[in-house]
């Protein structure tokens, strides 16, 4: 955390850069980080909290091991993205924006990833799955689970 801080001049305009770096390093913004930024940048904690909850890029809770993102752009919407999202929610037992209890999966939506030719799209741990069908949802989840098993063996 100190390393992240040391890379920036300590002024308000660096706040969002700082939060980006912390988010990608820890996977969320830890509470201590907020008080530390507050001290260093001389911004109140409430304001930092306001900024980080305003933007979708930042989370206060850690994400699960696997991140599944469903594109909800217009092109994906007219091609049936809501059905794909429903299926993921059903299969994982969580709603969009939630993390499963065993901390394995986080399900999120995004407004558009700009790969509209492939819609509807699901992105699982950075891999794009285009022209999704509801029946393919299960396969993706199973594959992610298997990868985990393989890596732990």
């Amino acid at each position: 955390m100190e390393k992240i801080m040391s890379e920036y001049t300590k002024v308000q305009r660096e706040l969002i850069h700082l939060l980006h770096d912390a988010q990608s390093k820890f996977g969320y913004i830890p509470a201590q980080m907020i008080s530390q930024i507050s001290r260093e940048l001389k911004i109140s904690e409430s304001e930092i909290f306001g900024v980080l909850t305003f933007y979708k890029a930042f989370t206060l809770k850690p994400r699960g091991e696997h991140l599944i993102t469903i594109c909800m752009g217009t092109a994906c919407h007219v091609r049936g993205a809501p059905m794909i999202l429903d299926e993921f929610e059903r299969k994982l037992g969580i709603k969009a924006g939630e993390t499963s209890e065993d901390n394995q999966f986080t399900l999120e939506t995004v407004n558009c990833v700009g790969a509209c030719a492939l819609g509807p799209i699901a992105i699982a741990d950075g891999d794009y799955h285009g022209q999704m069908k509801t029946r393919e949802v299960d396969e993706i989840i199973k594959k992610l689970k298997q990868e985990k098993r393989k890596s732990s063996e």
């Binding site: 299926e87 558009c112 990833v113 030719a117 509801t134």
Partner: protein
């Protein structure tokens, strides 16, 4: 090194690169846009490189991963230069054959060619493919030749020539006069004259001025800015340096959406390369002009595409819009005069300088000059990015370039302008597309998203989708936007659930007007547009939902049922096995039945039923009620 760098050096570099490119006779270009990435283009390019090495051809054949070619539907795309042979949907197993046949034996591999769906004719050359034929790719065309990670590729294609001209032969007033004369309008949505905007900013005296490239392309379904940043980042940088010179700015920001990782990567690299060649920084190209660019990653808020919110975000605050005036050109970033233009606008600038304002203003219509890149997506055969002269007819874009509607369905509407825009219905297919005509039709140009909708798209659902979006993205500062959009969503949702009443349409209209009038920024002022245009053109669909409780497009879940047709079902058990809630009963070779009380309408059965059988149908309205009644009668009998 930077002190010594000057226009002559730039020319030398250019000559040297074109010489070395000539030596290699052939170049295999592989499209490296986000779409093709998702299709696996990197592996294809690697395989090409390996095969070329194996055949010992590396001295005569080059492999280049280029920017987006635009025809995302047919990715991964490979074009063999200099002939321009166009191979589509290329797979790893095809690589060896392409090298041995096309490169060595100079023969065409037929099965990789694009087939014109109507005439079944195979097309060899990229420029002959109908998708490209009617386009005029003056901004976007170089994408297919340039490796965006290599500044030399851009320089070789006359890159930074406009900058040299501006810095050494033109005053800033002349630059502004040129941009004004060209008629270039901002491509971000509002369509304000770029030269005029620059002039206002220039005339405001200040020790420090800023310029910003707005790459927070938030409209869902629009991705031309991303493709420019990914595929030809230096054209944007060159445009910005020219703009900075004209305005007198010393620092520029590129505010790019974090949802576009490849664009962030390529533009960051491009800025570094430009700096190392002295095209950014102190004494640019040996002149006295200094200017630098910083990249700012957005953090996922749609409203930050609005210029005053964007500036708040760069300042490290919540992206809240503020009252205008003062306009950014008067008081912008940290209170200093600031000029904001969108990615595509900046990319147009070098072209205007190179080719002249007169040439540029010769393209397009009376009030809208130049070309516009549209992202043609949705229920269309040829999904992709298309660049056409302003004033092209909607019909030409959708049918000639876009290849018509998917699965031979009927065209219903095209949605332009993102969540702020509206729907243009089928009877306006002959509309010549420019800023003014779209506004008259109740929609807007926006950043250039064109989402095509067919008979299977429910317009009430589309309106609800957009309002859901703007409601979620409303920053909450103004009450009419924060609460009004919520109310609009609630009413629309009720209608899609079959709970609408006859006064709802009136309510939607009234409320929409209040939200438009009472909101501070563009988000709220335009948010009701999707509702207003769908009511204007598709009132009958609203009425069907409200009065008959039916969804004519068979989309709204609460108004439809799925049914297995007894005369078509072959009893293959497929739907039964795939039903997530076990609502389907039946045995092998016996007709399956859906229990309507258990069914959650996920559509899995329709999805898996083999096309040859297609026994699953959707029903709404009276037919739906009849089937439900029959089913309940049968239950009672049992």
């Amino acid at each position: 090194m930077m002190d010594e760098f000057n226009p002559t050096k730039l020319d030398e570099i250019r000559a040297k690169i074109s010489e070395s490119q000539k030596e290699k006779k052939k170049c295999i270009t592989v499209c490296g846009g986000t779409g093709c990435h998702a299709y696996g283009c990197l592996k294809v390019a690697e395989a090409f490189k390996d095969e070329i090495k194996k055949q010992n051809l590396q001295d005569s054949v080059d492999v280049r991963i280029t920017g987006c070619h635009g025809f995302c539907e047919r990715g991964p795309i490979t074009v063999i230069q200099p002939e321009g042979i166009f191979y589509q949907r290329i797979q790893l197993k095809d690589i060896r054959e392409v090298i041995s046949e096309t490169i060595i034996n100079k023969k065409i591999v037929d099965r990789l060619l694009y087939t014109e769906p109507r005439t079944k004719e195979k097309i060899v050359l990229e420029e002959e493919v109908p998708f490209y034929k009617k386009q005029r790719r003056i901004i976007f065309g170089n994408n297919g030749f340039i490796d965006p990670t290599d500044i030399n590729d851009y320089i070789a294609l006359d890159g930074y020539k406009a900058l040299v001209k501006v810095l050494f032969d033109m005053t800033s007033e002349e630059v502004i006069a040129d941009i004004k004369a060209s008629g270039l309008k901002g491509r971000g949505g509002a369509g304000f004259l770029a030269g005029k905007k620059w002039e206002i900013c220039r005339e405001n005296n200040s020790d420090v001025k800023y310029i910003i490239c707005n790459a927070d392309e938030g409209d869902p379904g629009a991705y031309m800015d991303r493709s420019l940043l990914e595929g030809n980042p230096h054209s944007v940088i060159e445009g910005m340096v020219i703009g900075a010179y004209a305005i007198g700015a010393s620092l520029g920001f590129i505010y790019v959406r974090m949802e576009y990782p490849l664009a962030v990567k390529n533009i960051t690299l491009a800025v570094e390369q430009a700096k190392s060649l002295g095209l950014l920084g102190e004494t640019i190209l040996g002149s006295e002009f200094k200017f630098d660019i910083r990249i700012f990653r957005g953090a996922g808020a749609f409203v930050s595409g609005e210029e005053t919110s964007l500036m708040a975000s760069i300042e490290g605050r919540r992206a809240f819009p503020r009252q205008r005036p003062p306009y950014p050109a008067q008081e912008g970033l940290w209170g200093k005069p600031t000029n904001i233009n969108n990615v595509e606008t900046w990319a147009n600038v070098p072209l205007v300088i190179n080719k002249g304002a007169e040439w540029y203003s010769g393209i397009g219509t009376k009030n809208s000059k130049g070309t516009k890149i549209f992202s043609l997506v949705g229920k269309i055969n040829n999904t992709g990015l298309v660049e056409v002269p302003m004033g092209m007819k909607l019909r030409e874009i959708i049918y000639d370039i876009g290849g018509g509607i998917k699965d031979n369905k009927k065209f219903k509407a095209v949605q332009t302008g993102g969540p702020s825009g509206g729907c243009v219905p089928a009877d306006k297919l002959d509309l010549a597309i420019d800023f003014e005509s779209l506004t008259r039709a109740g929609s807007m140009m926006g950043s250039g998203g064109m989402i095509v909708m067919d008979e299977d798209t429910c317009m009430v659902d589309v309106a609800r989708y957009f309002l859901d979006f703007t409601q979620e993205e409303s920053c909450g500062k103004c009450v009419p936007c924060r609460i009004g959009t919520r109310q609009l969503v609630d009413i629309l949702t009720r209608i899609t659930q079959g709970k609408g009443d006859e006064k709802d349409l009136e309510k939607l209209n009234d409320l929409s007007k209040s939200v438009k009038d009472g909101s501070l920024c563009g988000l709220g002022q335009t948010a009701p547009n999707p509702v207003l245009t769908t009511i204007r053109y598709f009132r009958h669909e609203y009425e069907a939902h409200i009065k008959e409780k039916s969804c004519p497009a068979l989309v709204c879940k609460d108004l439809i049922i799925y049914n297995i047709e007894p005369d078509k079902c072959v009893g293959c058990l497929l739907c039964l096995k795939n039903c997530p809630v076990d609502a389907i009963s039946g045995e092998r070779k016996k007709v399956h039945v859906i229990d309507q009380e258990l069914c959650i309408k996920c559509g899995a059965c329709l999805d898996v039923c083999p096309p040859k059988v297609s026994a699953v149908s959707k029903y709404t309205g009276n037919k739906k009620d009849r089937i439900l009644k029959k089913a309940s009668r049968q239950r009672v009998q049992k």
